[in-house]
């Protein structure tokens, strides 16, 4: 770990360049699905404002770790955890955490684009109407918010004339952009992305990657990916997990060239996974 800390500081300094704040601090996190232990004493810091990718073979626990940060794993009902996950200074595994508030701060993009079967406009404003609009709604303000969010995900020009169209009729790439756009009006601090491109074709993947890169600096982005090339192209820092344990975490450029652990090297070179 001592080694890791040194590396992380360095990574922040030349990758993000803003502050060395930690947005997500995972400490000694273990997690069980029923009796199956999926995470073992994971320690992991995600720095503010940069893109961190989580890689590792199927079933290594990277999605589980991601889904713990907004506690969407709670849906399953048979998940037990020990340790702590601090998001913006608060341990979100505490009983008294208000999940709606947490999930407002920590937005999530899923593997398969999952816009609601509502209009494009209603999709973009869905979260806003959950969290912000109490009482009277201001249509002009809502329009501005929707436009800003859609512009931010580079979708505005494509959909501006058909905001009342059903979102499920869009192409997959547009749907995934919309799924990112609908997080923006509530101004989240952290964006979690669970293999956001794995259901998309190469062109769409490229477009989404570009978009994620555009969002860098404005949000803390933690992205799970199966695609090592993607991790390498589109992240500042990279963490490698194996069998529920955090093996290595460092600057992406260094990790892919000079991995510290043999397992990391083997995985990166495609010997398993």
């Amino acid at each position: 770990m001592e080694q890791g800390v040194g590396m992380e500081n360095q990574a922040v300094n030349d990758a993000a360049g803003n502050s060395d704040d930690v947005a997500i601090r995972v400490q000694q996190l273990s997690l069980w699905y029923g009796t199956f232990q999926a995470l073992f004493d994971v320690d992991f810091d995600v720095k503010r404002g940069i893109i961190t990718s989580l890689i590792g073979p199927s079933g290594c626990g990277k999605s589980t770790l991601l889904r713990t940060v907004n506690r969407i794993n709670d849906r399953l009902g048979y998940v037990r955890t020990t340790g702590s996950v601090e998001v913006l200074g608060k341990n979100i595994l505490d009983e008294d955490v208000a999940l709606p508030q947490l999930r407002k701060e920590v937005g999530m993009v899923f593997q398969r684009p999952n816009p609601f079967p509502l209009s494009i406009r209603d999709n973009v404003l869905f979260g806003y109407n959950l969290h912000e609009a109490s009482g009277r709604r201001d249509k002009g303000n809502e329009d501005d918010l929707a436009e800003a969010a859609l512009r931010k995900v580079l979708l505005w020009d494509e959909v501006k004339d058909r905001l009342d169209q059903k979102a499920t009729e869009l192409s997959l790439e547009e749907q995934q952009k919309l799924c990112i756009a609908r997080l923006i009006p509530v101004k989240p601090q952290v964006l979690l992305m669970d293999e956001p491109c794995s259901a998309l074709d190469p062109a769409a993947t490229e477009a989404i990657e570009e978009l994620i890169w555009e969002l860098r600096g404005q949000f803390t982005i933690l992205i799970v990916t199966h695609n090592m090339a993607q991790a390498r192209r589109a992240s500042d820092e990279c963490a490698f997990m194996l069998m529920g344990k955090m093996v290595e975490h460092g600057q992406t450029s260094e990790m892919f060239v000079t991995p510290e652990h043999k397992e990391t090297a083997d995985y990166i070179e495609g010997r398993y996974g």
């Binding site: 999930r103 999530m108 398969r112 999952n114 059903k166 499920t168 509530v186």
Partner: protein, 303 residues
């Protein structure tokens, strides 16, 4: 080579069995169509001649006087009967819609494991209770309750029949509505929860809108059930020809009229023809309701 060609052509027991089953299934499949056309032709043949010649259509739809057995001047005004059916069905829906949608939401979204299974079985059992039993409950239990509770002279009225019919229609509506809710992909719920929606927000803002078509068709099928139900309505509604002013008035339904009178008419008489005219009307209305429900359901799948 020759041998294998023979083997392909061989007609053994399995081949004939396959053929027989195919024919059997085909006959079963088209029998539904044949039967519905047959019923329609029969009802029309019995009722149409009277409806087009003797019957005064204007009187039929605007007069509340249904007096087919009058010695001096028989009249065939169906307005009161239509009002009876509509008022009872309407009351039934006011009872059934909240009950069935509530039950469907609970079963589909909240109940888990054993509770869910038990509830589903119970709801299906409720749907299997014979209508005469419901009618009996209306006649013997609801009647007394309504008389006591509202201090009215008679408890066999729109309210009684409506509540009974609502309880009868609720199980089938619950089952269909629950199917519609279950058909909403879990992705939507997860997405909404991940955006910070509470359980109720997930249901009201995402699940119900997504299942809207299925829910509408559940309600429509309930309405169709209400229109067509005979025995329970006959027993619980009071069976008196009357355009109701309130839910405490007794009414008579279209279906109950046919059931009560058809046995005592001479085949081919005007009265007989008039009852079949009621039948045509009921058939057409329920057909339209069911067809609409079906088209609404198909609407979801197309999108």
């Amino acid at each position: 080579m020759a041998r294998s060609a023979e083997a392909i052509d061989e007609r053994n027991l399995a081949w004939y069995l396959d053929r027989a089953v195919r024919v059997f299934v085909f006959v079963g499949g088209i029998s539904a169509i044949v039967l519905i056309i047959g019923i329609f032709v029969f009802i029309t043949r019995e009722g149409l001649e009277f409806a087009t010649t003797t019957l005064n259509i204007k009187e039929f739809f605007t007069s509340p006087r249904w007096a087919p057995t009058s010695e001096t001047r028989p009249t065939y005004g169906a307005l009161a009967l239509i009002a009876g059916t509509v008022s009872v069905t309407g009351t039934a829906m006011i009872v059934a819609i909240p009950f069935s949608l509530g039950a469907a939401i609970y079963i589909a979204e909240f109940a888990t494991g054993k509770t869910r299974e038990v509830l589903k079985v119970l709801v299906e059992m409720l749907a299997a209770i014979p209508s005469v039993v419901w009618g009996f409950i209306g006649l013997s239990i609801m009647n007394g309750i309504i008389i006591q509770l509202f201090n009215v002279p008679i408890g066999l009225n729109v309210l009684n029949a409506g509540v009974i019919l609502g309880l009868m229609a609720a199980p089938i509506m619950t089952t269909i509505a629950e199917d519609a809710l279950k058909a909403v992909p879990d992705d939507y719920r997860q997405a909404a929860e991940a955006m910070g929606a509470t359980r109720w927000q997930v249901i009201f803002k995402v699940v119900l809108p997504a299942a809207r078509n299925g829910l509408v068709s559940a309600v429509l099928l309930g309405v169709g059930r209400g229109f067509g139900e005979t025995m329970a309505v006959l027993m619980a509604s009071g069976h008196s020809i009357n355009i109701p002013d309130s839910v405490f008035d007794s009414v008579r339904a279209l279906t109950a009229t046919i059931a009560a009178e058809l046995g005592e008419t001479a085949v081919g008489s005007d009265h007989y023809g008039a009852l079949f005219t009621l039948g045509i009307m009921l058939f057409v209305v329920t057909f339209i309701i069911n067809l609409t429900a079906d088209l609404v359901v198909r609407g979801i799948k197309k999108r």
